[in-house]
């Protein structure tokens, strides 16, 4: 518990944590509500969505879908950056050396980092939900729609959001440990999340096996889970796999990324 408390204290007071969370909230608000609202009120509908689709996307009862749809790509990228920075920066600052000589076993120290990141990610998803719900209620009130709060189904969407966020967190932690620094970890992570998987999807339209592979890659699995719980109309959201299959792949990635990062952290010399 001491390790989690220590990591939480330093991540909570780290400006980067709140800058990244703030950027994500502005993005989800802008792309999920502001642009849709403007499109609904006389703007050009560039996504070829009907008025009914726009209204549905902004309804408070659909806020769960609004939360999950942003996470497979852009939200995931931000979470990955946060995790990679949180772990990778410790090598440059020399804080891993301080942490690993403080007392707890290396596994406990690593669990502390993972636990604190998990809490931060839960806060991020919860804040996304609250901000999206606030925006949805505001839009619905301004437009005079009949609206209702989300039903129990929202928990499925939020659960999926947390699993997707956990996968990107694990990916960022893994990259931070492997590269032993923040810059390369962030660069590689962003490259993968935003560029590589999309390029592979492009190739996949020409080669069947590559297309099948892209569906189960980290971003693909996240996109499929988001699609399975109602997220749609956002980059990275897919509808190729069932929710269960994609959730299993994501859980597998979490185990592999976190497990590999922990084994490396425990066994590797800190020089």
């Amino acid at each position: 518990m001491g390790s989690v408390k220590a990591e939480l204290l330093r991540l909570w007071k780290w400006p980067a944590t709140w800058v990244l969370i703030g950027v994500w909230l502005v993005m989800t608000l802008t792309f999920g509500y502001v642009f849709n609202y403007l499109a609904l009120n006389g703007g050009t509908n560039t996504r070829a969505m009907s008025q009914q689709q726009l209204i549905s996307a902004m309804q408070p009862e659909n806020v769960g879908a609004a939360v999950v749809r942003g996470l497979p790509m852009f939200g995931g990228a931000i979470i990955l950056v946060l995790a990679a920075l949180a772990v990778g920066s410790g090598y440059g600052w020399g804080t891993w050396k301080t942490t690993l000589t403080a007392g707890p076993r290396r596994v406990s120290a690593m669990a502390g980092t993972l636990g604190a990141l998990a809490i931060i990610v839960v806060v991020l998803v919860a804040l996304t939900f609250v901000v999206d719900l606030g925006a949805a209620v505001t839009v619905a009130s301004l437009e005079g729609w009949d609206w209702s709060l989300p039903g129990a189904g929202v928990f499925e969407a939020l659960g999926a959001s947390l699993l997707i966020a956990a996968m990107w967190t694990g990916f960022g932690v893994f990259l931070g440990v492997v590269t032993k620094g923040p810059a390369l970890a962030v660069g590689l992570g962003l490259m993968w999340a935003i560029v590589t998987e999309n390029l592979l999807r492009g190739v996949g339209s020409l080669l069947g096996p590559v297309e099948s592979l892209t569906e189960v890659l980290p971003g693909g699995s996240a996109g499929n889970l988001a699609g399975a719980v109602g997220g749609s109309g956002a980059p990275g959201v897919l509808n190729s796999l069932s929710g269960t299959t994609s959730a299993l792949f994501l859980a597998g990635y979490v185990v592999v990324f976190v497990g590999a990062a922990t084994v490396l952290k425990v066994r590797r010399d800190l020089v």
């Binding site: 001491g2 804080t95 301080t98 690993l100 007392g103 010399d269 020089v271």
Partner: protein
């Protein structure tokens, strides 16, 4: 013994960075770990803290294997400069460290007071001077009331005043009975502070004893005329150019002997090798 190592070795490929080092640190002493840059001091210390796994050999720290919670919780360390979060204040950095060591706020404040950082405790770590950063590192090492302090080059990069402050701090800790393993390449620092020293060169421990023993017995330097006659008169003396070195502590008797034999005595003074001379001799550094 607080620390013992037996043939502790670390190899990277074919190169032995630390080569069969066997040393021991006793309770209550300030042990100077001396060696030129790159001699293997920091790697040895990292092995004692479990940061680096030895290729072969064994080590025990306070009776425990290095790197285990049982050992680490009783050891405070500052390795190659302090590692803290630049965006946190000095106090918050200590609180983070205290949480990991199971120490409370009272201990954080006591440690800040001990290193004279209370006034600057609220400032961000990145704004600290090098001396303040080092002192915060020592404060972190003091958290949890460790039985052993391991300080690796604590005066590195400090100005003369900062170095003096750090020496005073280590002296004060030693006076309180704190066991300290102090690694340094600054000989004056070690000579002033340490009870015993281990000298490491090219990965091998070439000597381990008290500073006094390392410097050897003192000799008398005698300048006299004629020097050859004095050399014959004084048994066991050795001629070094135009002076004699005599393993004799009774200078009065020696002078009387020479004067009675009609030898002019021009200078008699004790001569003792400095730790620096011993160090250069042992390590081949110059």
């Amino acid at each position: 013994m607080i620390v013992t190592t037996e043939k502790l070795t670390k190899r990277y490929g074919d190169r032995a960075v630390v080569d069969e080092v066997s040393l021991s640190v006793r309770r209550g002493e300030v042990y100077g770990f001396l060696g030129p840059n790159g001699a293997g001091k920091t790697t040895t210390i990292r092995m004692l803290l479990g940061l680096v796994q030895p290729t072969s050999g064994t080590a025990t720290v306070l009776g425990e294997a290095p790197g285990t919670p049982g050992a680490l919780l009783k050891v405070g360390s500052l390795i190659e400069g302090p590692g803290f979060y630049p965006y946190l204040s000095g106090r918050d950095n200590l609180r983070v460290h205290a949480a990991r060591r199971g120490a409370g706020r009272t201990e954080v404040e006591a440690a800040l007071e001990q290193v004279d950082l209370v006034a600057a405790a609220g400032e961000k770590f990145r704004r600290y001077s090098l001396g303040m950063k080092q002192r915060l590192g020592v404060a972190a090492a003091l958290l949890g009331q460790p039985e052993l302090l391991i300080l690796d080059e604590p005066t590195n990069g400090l100005d003369p005043a900062g170095m003096a402050d750090m020496r005073d701090l280590v002296r004060a800790l030693a006076a309180q009975g704190q066991t300290v393993l102090l690694s340094s390449h600054l000989l004056g620092e070690v000579e002033e502070i340490c009870d015993r020293v281990g000298v490491i060169s090219r990965g091998r421990l070439v000597a381990e004893s008290t500073v006094e023993q390392l410097r050897g017995d003192s000799v008398l330097l005698v300048r006299a005329d004629p020097i050859e006659k004095a050399h014959v008169l004084i048994e066991g003396s050795s001629l070094h150019g135009d002076v004699l070195h005599v393993r004799e502590t009774d200078a009065g008797a020696l002078v009387r002997t020479l004067v009675h034999a009609d030898v002019d005595v021009q200078e008699v003074r004790p001569l003792r090798r400095t730790l620096e001379e011993v160090f250069f001799e042992m390590t081949g550094a110059a």
